[in-house]
C-alpha cells in the first residue's frame, strides 16, 4: 500500500501538506476546505497522485489543527472543532492545556487511522456495488445524498435544501451539456462555459469569512498559556478508550454519508460520549472524555468522507468536494473503474492519509505551542494577504477576470447566507452534484421513454428514494420528539 509513497517528492508533498493543513486548521475562519481550494491551482504543477496526496494531507491535518485553537483560545479553528471547545478550553483554564491537547492529538490520530482502515476495506466494496448502478440509480443516489445533507447537516433542513437546490441551479448556468443550448448566460460569452467550482468555493468560504471577520474586529481572544503537550496518563486512557473507539466508528459512519462531515460527526461523537459516560456532569467543565469523543469523531469523518468520493464520485463533505474537483482537474474520474484500473493510485491516497495522521500526531505533539502562536497574526494583516492569494488563485485556473468577480459576488452572497442561517456547504455539494443529478435524470427519462413512474420499478433506485423520504422525515420526527 505504501509502495507508491516511497519517493522523496511524495514525502515532501506529504510533509508540506500536513504542515500547511495544520496552519490552516489553527487559523480561525480558514480551514481545509478554503485551504484546499486556494492550493488547487498550484497542484497543476504536480502529477495527479502528488496533487491528491497534497489535498488529502491538508484535509487530515487541517481537521486536527482546529483543536489547538479550540483548546487554547476557545475558538474552533475549524467548524469541526466546535465541540472540542466545550471541554478543551475549561480544562486548559484549569492549567491542564497540555493534557487537553495531548488527548485531542491522540484521539484525533486514532480516529483518523481507524477511518483510513474503514476506507481501505469499505471503498472497494462500495465501488463493486456501484457496478450495479445505472443512470436511474445514480440519480436516486445523488438525491439521497442531498436529502441527507439537508437532514443531518447543521441548521435548518429546509434552508439546507434551498441552498442545495441553489447549488444545482448554479451548475445549470452555461451551455446545456446535452443540447448545447445557452441557459442563464444573458449574452455573456464567459458564462457559456458555466461557473467554475473554484470561484464559488473561494468566494463562499474565504471571501465571506473575510466579511465575517470585518464584523468581529472588536473581539478579543484570551489565550491560555501552554507549556508543553502531554501524553494522556494511563488513567486517562482507561477512561477514554471506549469513547475513542465509539466516536471513531460514529465519525467514520457519518463521514460516509454526504453531510457536513467532521462538524456533524464531532457533535454526535460528543453527545454520545456524554450519554455513555459515568460522569456526564463533568461535561462542559473540562471532561477528558468530551475532548476524546469530539476529536476522534471529527478526524474519523475524514476517511469516511473519502469513501463515497472515491467509490462513487459523490463527495462526503465540502473538503472532499474540493478533492473531487482536484481529481477531475487532473483527469482522474472517481468511481468503480478507478478501483479496477488504477489501484496503485488509490493505495497511494490511502497510504498518504495514514502517514498524514502519523505526521500530524508528531507535529501536533511537538509543535502545538508554535502553531498556537500563528493565531497571534492580527486579522488586519492576515485577511488582506488571504485576499491577494484568493484573487490570484481564482484568476489562475482559467485566467479570467470574470472568475474573480464571480468569487467576490459569491463572497458577499455567502456572508448573507450565513448571517441568515443558510449553510454554504450544500451550495458546494449541489454545485458539484448538479451535472450528475440533471444528467442522470434526463438520461433516465430517455431510457424510460419519459415515464417518471419507471423509477419505481428499479429496486436500488426505489430504495434510495425511500431512504431520501426517511431522511426528509427525520428532522420533523426529531422536532416532534423534542416538543413531546
Amino acid at each position: 500500500m505504501m509502495a507508491p509513497l516511497f519517493s522523496s517528492k511524495l514525502l515532501i508533498v506529504l510533509l508540506f501538506g500536513t504542515l500547511f493543513g495544520l496552519i490552516l486548521g489553527v487559523l480561525p475562519g480558514l480551514g481545509p476546505t478554503t485551504g484546499g481550494a486556494l492550493i488547487l491551482p498550484f497542484t497543476m504543477t504536480l502529477d495527479p497522485l502528488s496533487a491528491i496526496v497534497l489535498l488529502t494531507s491538508i484535509y487530515c491535518a487541517g481537521t486536527y489543527g482546529g483543536a489547538i485553537t479550540a483548546v487554547l483560545i476557545n475558538t474552533p479553528g475549524t467548524p469541526a472543532a466546535a465541540a472540542t471547545c466545550l471541554d478543551g478550553y475549561p480544562l486548559a483554564q484549569k492549567g491542564e492545556a497540555g493534557r487537553a491537547l495531548g488527548m485531542a492529538t491522540v484521539s484525533s490520530t486514532v480516529g483518523g487511522i481507524f477511518s483510513v482502515i474503514v476506507l481501505v476495506f469499505f471503498a472497494p466494496v462500495l465501488a463493486k456495488l456501484a457496478y450495479e448502478f445505472g443512470q436511474p440509480e445514480y440519480f436516486a443516489l445523488a438525491i439521497f445524498g442531498l436529502t441527507m445533507l439537508a437532514s443531518i447537516g447543521e441548521g435548518s433542513p429546509i434552508k439546507n435544501l434551498i441552498a442545495g437546490a441553489f447549488g444545482i441551479l448554479i451548475s445549470t448556468i452555461g451551455k446545456d451539456f446535452m443540447t448545447s443550448i445557452d441557459r442563464f448566460t444573458y449574452g455573456i460569452n464567459e458564462l457559456s462555459v458555466g461557473i467554475g467550482f473554484i470561484p464559488v468555493v473561494v468566494g463562499l468560504f474565504a471571501i465571506s469569512e473575510m466579511l465575517t471577520q470585518s464584523t468581529l474586529l472588536d473581539q478579543v481572544f484570551k489565550r491560555v498559556a501552554l507549556k508543553a503537550v502531554k501524553l494522556p496518563s494511563l488513567n486517562d486512557y482507561k477512561k477514554t478508550w471506549k469513547t475513542i473507539l465509539r466516536s471513531s466508528g460514529i465519525g467514520s459512519f457519518i463521514g460516509v454519508l454526504p453531510a457536513e462531515g467532521g462538524t456533524v460527526a464531532s457533535l454526535i461523537g460528543y453527545s454520545e460520549a456524554k450519554r455513555f459516560s459515568k460522569e456526564p456532569e463533568e461535561f462542559g467543565k473540562g471532561s477528558i472524555e468530551g475532548i476524546a469523543g469530539a476529536e476522534a469523531a471529527n478526524n474519523a469523518a475524514t476517511g469516511g468522507a473519502m469513501v463515497p468520493t472515491l467509490a462513487l464520485g459523490i463527495p462526503g463533505s465540502a473538503t472532499t468536494a474540493v478533492i473531487l474537483t482536484g481529481l477531475i482537474i487532473h483527469g482522474v474520474r472517481p468511481g468503480p473503474d478507478l478501483f479496477r484500473e488504477q489501484p496503485d493510485f488509490l493505495y497511494g491516497i490511502f497510504g498518504a492519509m495514514l502517514i498524514a495522521n502519523v505526521l500530524f500526531f508528531i507535529f501536533g505533539f511537538f509543535g502545538a505551542k508554535l502553531f498556537a502562536r500563528i493565531t497571534l497574526v492580527p486579522n488586519k494583516i492576515l485577511w488582506p494577504m488571504i485576499f491577494a492569494v484568493s484573487v490570484c488563485g481564482t484568476y489562475s485556473l482559467s485566467q479570467s477576470i470574470i472568475d474573480v468577480w464571480i468569487m467576490l459576488f459569491f463572497g458577499v452572497l455567502g456572508f448573507f447566507m450565513r448571517r441568515f442561517g443558510f449553510s454554504v456547504v450544500p451550495v458546494i455539494i449541489g454545485l458539484i452534484l448538479g451535472e450528475l443529478v440533471e444528467g442522470t435524470l434526463r438520461q433516465s427519462l430517455v431510457i424510460f421513454d419519459g415515464n417518471w413512474l419507471m423509477f419505481l420499478t428499479r429496486p436500488i433506485a426505489l430504495t434510495f428514494f425511500i431512504l431520501s423520504l426517511i431522511a426528509l422525515a427525520f428532522p420533523l420526527l426529531r422536532t416532534k420528539k423534542q416538543k413531546d
Partner: protein
C-alpha cells in the same frame, strides 16, 4: 438563552417588511421569479430531436422548488421568529466598498494595483496604521504572490499600467 429570546422579541415588534424573515423571503422570491421568467426565453429543442425533457425544464423545476421551500420557511417564521441580527459595523461596509474599488481598478487600470489598493484600504480600515505593515500587505506580499504565480505557474496576468512595466 434569554438573550436569544430578547432578540426574537425585538424582531417580533417590527413591521413585517422590516423583519429579516420577510427580507430573505422577498429577495429569494424576487430573484427566483426573474430567473423563472428568463427560462421561458431559452431556446427549445425541436420535437424531432428532443429526447427526454427540454433544457429549460430542469432549472424551472429547481426554481419552483426553491420558491416553494422559501414560502415554507417564511410561513414557519410566523410561529418561530428568527433572532434579530446585530447591526453591521462600518468596517463591513468599507470592506464591501473595497471590493467595488477592486472591480473598478482591475477593469480600468491594473489588476496588481487593484490588489494593492484593496489590501491597504482593508488593512487601514480594520485598524492597521503602521506604515511598514501597510506596505507589507499592500506591496511586498502581493508582489511575492504575483512573482510566485508568474514563475511557478507561468501565469500571465491581465495587462495594466503596472503589469505592463513587468512584461515589457
Amino acid at each position: 438563552m434569554n438573550n436569544v429570546q430578547n432578540k426574537k422579541r425585538a424582531n417580533k415588534s417590527l413591521p413585517f417588511f422590516f423583519k429579516d424573515e420577510f427580507k430573505v423571503f422577498f429577495v429569494i422570491i424576487f430573484f427566483s421569479t426573474i430567473l423563472l421568467i428568463s427560462t421561458f426565453t431559452f431556446d427549445k429543442v425541436p420535437p424531432i430531436l428532443n429526447r427526454g425533457i427540454q433544457p429549460a425544464t430542469f432549472p424551472k423545476g429547481l426554481l419552483v422548488l426553491i420558491m416553494f421551500l422559501t414560502t415554507i420557511i417564511y410561513y414557519l417564521s410566523f410561529k418561530n421568529p428568527w433572532k434579530k441580527e446585530k447591526k453591521l459595523p462600518k468596517q463591513f461596509f468599507l470592506t464591501i466598498l473595497s471590493f467595488i474599488l477592486f472591480v473598478i481598478i482591475s477593469k480600468t487600470l491594473d489588476f496588481f494595483l487593484a490588489i494593492s489598493v484593496l489590501s491597504i484600504f482593508v488593512s487601514y480600515n480594520w485598524g492597521e496604521k503602521r506604515v511598514f505593515y501597510l506596505l507589507l500587505v499592500g506591496i511586498i506580499f502581493p508582489l511575492v504572490v504575483f512573482i510566485f504565480f508568474e514563475m511557478i505557474l507561468g501565469l500571465r496576468f491581465p495587462p495594466g499600467i503596472i503589469t505592463n512595466l513587468y512584461y515589457y
